[in-house]
Amino acid sequence: MAFPVTVLPELTTPVYSAVIDSGVLLKLTKHTSEAFPAPVCGLLLGLDANSVLQVTHAFPFPPSEGSGTSSSNDDASAPRSKANIRYQADMIRLLKEVNIEANPVGYYMSSYLGGFFSQALVDNLVALQAANPNSIVLVHDVTRSSQSSVSLKAYRLSAQFLATNKASGGKFSSEAVVKNNLTYLDILEELPISIKNSHLATALLQHLDSPAFTRKSDPTSFVSTSALAPNFDSLDLSIDPYLEKNVEFLLESVDDYYAEQGTFNYFQRQLAREQSKIQQWIQKTRSENALRERANLPTVSEDDWQKHFKVPTEPSRLDNLLISAQINQYCNQIEEYSSVASSKLFAIQNGLDIHN
């Protein structure tokens, strides 16, 4: 599984923020909102230089074959499927001919109401960051963007996460997690994003805003239909559908959490039982050895318990971490949304009180 590596991992300087070209933003939002509610992703191309990651181009991955039934996982892991790697290599080759940087710097994905913490995300990022440590994932939340400003976040796996991954070989045992100080809050680190327009794009935007371009669809109405007329959807008062969905997902995640907790507890009980059995066996052999020594018979080593008993393996803590991070994400979303909704409510009450 090889990504076109154009930069040696050891030689990269870390980046601390991401600059995204306006064209990329528009392409991204168009692709994710068209495919809504199916999860889709695509690749980002650009440059990392001067401790800033510049994303200059992006293209979507084709939807996986046989999509429709159980392929939500396939689409999420699209950056790593074989067909898509070929597609990506072809695309990059062609784009190079028109002077577009052929350097993958990450991938973008759509998310439905913030539910993007999954095994697929982790695997994708691990693979990408192995090729280029400055790779990011841009998560675009389509449901939130349709209500208010664009909800786009850039994430990258934190150093602690990668260290834990390497130390425990992907298994995430409890000791590795504690030793590397990895909590569920530290799985992903967020990068600040800024959107940059080229000079020509700025000229185009100025032109779109000018009165010459404003087209009055109906001579008797005074509503201008300029492309850049302000959007007042964010002043809408209804909260129920959004909040309801959020709470629903939150409760589902809590259920998942308890299910996972249950498996871990089961493992712990099993481990305790095995340990006690092993202890008993060791005691028995010790007393037997004492008898055998007196009878000058070969003794049985106490370490032989490994041949008789199998210690259950500890399940990976990764699921637990991911689910906790997901729950945290939903809670944060609810809080952010409530702050906006409650300010609107108080404003309305104030406004209507004046009339009364």
């Binding site: 933003l25 349709s146 400003s149 935007l205 087209r215 959007n231």
Partner: protein, 306 residues
């Protein structure tokens, strides 16, 4: 683009007369802003010495062919000199296939060029794009020209073409480009993206960052307040007699202001409180869950260490 009047010429009978009568001519072209940004991006990246660059337009056609939507564009390398023009057709075909795999709904609708002039080369390219083999046959290909010169305004013009025969051996080089009206359209979610991008247009260094929900709410409220202030200034100046009043505007204002709902004070109290309680309940719940997660996390760590 100044919205003047358009003289719409019907497509004269062309060489492919058998089918010409059934292919409708597009009456309106809708452009998605994302394609314009792609074209501009390509202009910026052109090689040294290239005056104009060309590329392919992809999009959708409406059922009856009268509306064409341009959704995306990609660049095609080409070499142009005074004597001849060369387009990499292989590139166009491969790229189109790749693009089509990712977006099965988008098909070839035309091509673009970044200079306003229409010369013999444009005719050649137009004929290639309208050709039978892998062009837009039997529909006419749309040609979009965009003036991307930094010294003048950006203007976008769209055309369809017909053959105009002067000499039979030069038919492939002659074209009559008929202008077609175009408009810019976008979906709801694209709109917020476009707004965000546009908020940077007045900044010194042409960039802006993603703003939080609260900040965008503040911006909207400020805009509404500014609008209200403008309207009230106008109304008071009409009352003073400094500005002649306009009956149409007055009626429009009265109609809109009467839309404010009249609610009983008690009813309002109740609605407001129940709404607020819903929100607060959910916020307390989410805070409790977060606290519990933190506790669990802390307990687990101590359990492992001890």
């Amino acid at each position: 683009m100044s919205y003047g009047s358009f003289l719409h010429l019907s497509k004269p009978a062309s060489m492919m007369t058998a089918h010409a009568s059934s292919t409708p001519t597009p009456l309106n072209i809708i452009i998605h802003p994302q394609s314009l940004f792609s074209i501009l991006d390509h202009t910026l990246r052109r090689n040294e010495g290239q005056e104009r660059v060309i590329g392919t337009l992809l999009g959708q056609r409406s059922e009856d062919g009268t509306e064409i939507e341009i959704r995306s564009a990609f660049a095609v390398p080409h070499i142009e000199s005074a004597a001849q023009v060369e387009i990499d057709m292989e590139y166009h075909k491969t790229m189109y296939n790749l693009y089509h795999k990712a977006n099965p709904k988008e098909i070839l609708v035309g091509w673009y060029a970044t200079s306003l002039e229409l010369n013999a080369f444009s005719a050649l390219i137009q004929n290639f794009y309208s050709s039978v083999s892998d062009g837009t046959y039997p529909y006419p290909a749309v040609h979009l020209t965009m003036q991307a010169n930094p010294s003048s305004d950006i203007s976008i013009k769209t055309y369809i073409s017909t053959n105009v025969g002067v000499l039979p051996d030069k038919i492939s080089e002659s074209c009559l480009f008929v202008p077609v009206p175009n408009e810019l359209r976008y979906s709801e979610s694209e709109r917020s993206g476009l707004e965000l991008v546009a908020s940077a247009k007045n900044n010194e260094n042409r960039d802006t960052s993603i703003i939080s929900d609260i900040a965008s709410l503040e911006k909207s409220v400020e805009e509404v307040i500014a609008m209200l202030e403008r309207v009230s200034a106008y109304v008071s100046s009409v009352q003073d007699g400094t500005t002649p009043g306009n009956v149409a505007i007055g009626k429009f204002l009265v109609a809109n202001l009467s839309l404010a709902p009249k609610i009983d004070a008690d009813e309002l109290e109740k609605l407001f409180n129940s709404h607020l309680q819903d929100i607060l309940l959910v916020v307390y719940l989410s805070n409790t869950i977060k606290t519990q997660m933190e506790l669990f996390n802390g307990l687990k760590r101590t359990a492992v260490i001890s």
